[in-house]
Amino acid sequence: MITMDRLAYSSKIKDVSPAFKAGLSISALVYTLLVDNALFSIGIFALMALLCTLLSGLPMRRFLKMCAIPFGFLLIGTVTISVGFSPVPVGFISLPFWGNYLVITQAGAILAVNVFLKSMASISCLYFLYVSTPIGCLLGLLDRMHTPKLLTELMMMIYRFIFILIGMAEQMALAQKARLGNITYGASFRSISVLASSVFVGAFQKSTKLYDAMESRGYNGDFAFTGELAGMSNRQKTVLAVYELVLLVTAVLTKLIAG
């Protein structure tokens, strides 16, 4: 499985303060939701595309490819939103439906486009955070923000275990394929069910070994975040403050103009 966390390690700003990067990303995300304006969404999307490519060094092609991941199911969702009901045919499209009509009106279409743009903009905000910040730093940031310890502990362990299990599942899927495990639909079905149960058993067998390994290095129930987190420099603090101000002003202006 190709996961997105791989991208963060080739980022130009991977060692920059995660709080700074989270500040850039999360505040833009919040404003996108609050302002809820198509032009504002487009602006945020463009801003994040710039941050991802110029600041973090992600190739543009890669960024667009990533944007295509949620595109498909966002489209279905938003098309559904755009559909209205009417006793008479109105709008661009109307389909007879149990005595009424399924219609797409201008209002419906605008709502759908708005939701679509807002969603893409929000996704791009998170993408910036993901492609610039290794997971270790994100979890460190959560820890720094006084997330309950048990929760960060579980998250840190789960992150690593996910890849242990994925590795196992992928190897197993290859071995199944090599013995025609996916040759018919029935075979695939059987394969996936034995795979899921086998991974379950494997998970618990591996957990014993991992626990031994943890104990052998003195594990006493304290699985703390021990990494190093870069702090925010004064320059970054200034940049972030200006950034917030610009966002705020733009947001207010957009709201005023759009009514």
Binding site: Q176, R179, L180, I183, A187, V194, S198
Partner: protein, 274 residues
């Protein structure tokens, strides 16, 4: 000699962009024993997965018994029936509830009738001396037993070629030796065997031919004494000279031993020259 597998300019790139095979060509004769050498990442595992149709080659072709391999359903069934892979780690090769079902997995997928499946399973279990473990879950067997189950699970499809990926790597010497005997038995029955290994001594003693892979290409292919006498090649690919060959050459060089017609392959053969 009849060519059973003919590989022509095979190329393969993983979805993440890593090019694992950069044009591999080799003909494999029926009944041959081939040792495949090469460091990790040299493309051994990828080659095996291509030969069995799990990975679809980007370009180039694989001919089985003269017929070009196709990736439609019929072609894949053909290929996976005829070429079996025994993976390195039995832990991830075994996934069924018990040994019987594990061994039945392949024949079942070939669409055999219940009786046919049963016969195939029984034969392979017998061949691998696993009858007593028939109803046990594979997860609870020992390493050596698991390995034998993984061989049986491939054998039950009656393949003509079996690819072994470092079969003895996790086994202790007793079980490793036993497995090698089983492999030799299969070879004696006419099954063509390719074995990926890191152990130059085993490769030298066992193989009819050695295939050295490196950087996704064939670096050398030939009989063990020829390949392992090629010092620049060994240097380049990080391989060591097998003990027996090195000793033999040294002894000849010092005049302590007369040159034999063919260099000895095992320590016993070497000792017999004394």
């Amino acid at each position: 000699m009849k060519t059973i597998l003919s590989i022509q300019d095979l190329k393969y790139t993983y979805p993440d962009g890593t090019t694992a095979l950069k044009g591999v060509s080799i003909d494999i004769e029926l009944g041959e024993r081939i040792a495949v050498l090469g460091s990790n990442g040299s493309g051994k595992s990828t080659l095996f997965l291509c030969l069995n149709g799990v990975h679809k080659a980007l370009s180039g072709s694989i001919l089985f018994d003269g017929k070009r391999m196709t990736y439609d359903k019929k072609g894949l069934i053909e290929m996976r029936k005829n070429v079996g892979i025994v993976f390195q780690d039995p832990e991830t090769q075994l996934f069924c509830v018990d040994v019987y079902q594990e061994v039945a997995f392949g024949p079942h997928n070939l669409g055999y009738s219940k009786e046919q499946v049963h016969n195939c399973v029984m034969q392979s279990l017998d061949a691998m001396d696993l009858m007593q473990f028939k109803d046990k879950p594979p997860h609870f067997l020992s390493g050596g037993q698991k390995k034998r189950v993984s061989v049986a699970s491939v054998l039950s499809m009656n393949p003509q070629v079996i690819l072994f990926d470092e079969p003895t790597s996790a086994l202790d010497p007793i079980h490793a030796q036993r497995l090698m005997q089983e492999i030799n038995k299969l070879s004696a029955e006419g099954i063509t065997i390719l074995m990926a290994t890191h152990d130059v001594n085993t490769a030298y003693a066992w193989a009819d031919r050695v295939l050295v892979l490196g950087d996704g290409k064939v670096q050398a292919a030939g009989t063990p004494p020829v390949v392992f006498s090629d010092l620049p090649l060994l240097e380049k690919t990080g391989l060591q000279i097998p003990f027996v060959l090195r000793m033999y050459q040294k002894l000849c060089e010092k005049g302590m031993l007369a040159k034999a017609q063919t260099p000895p392959r095992t320590i016993e053969e070497l000792e017999n020259l004394f």
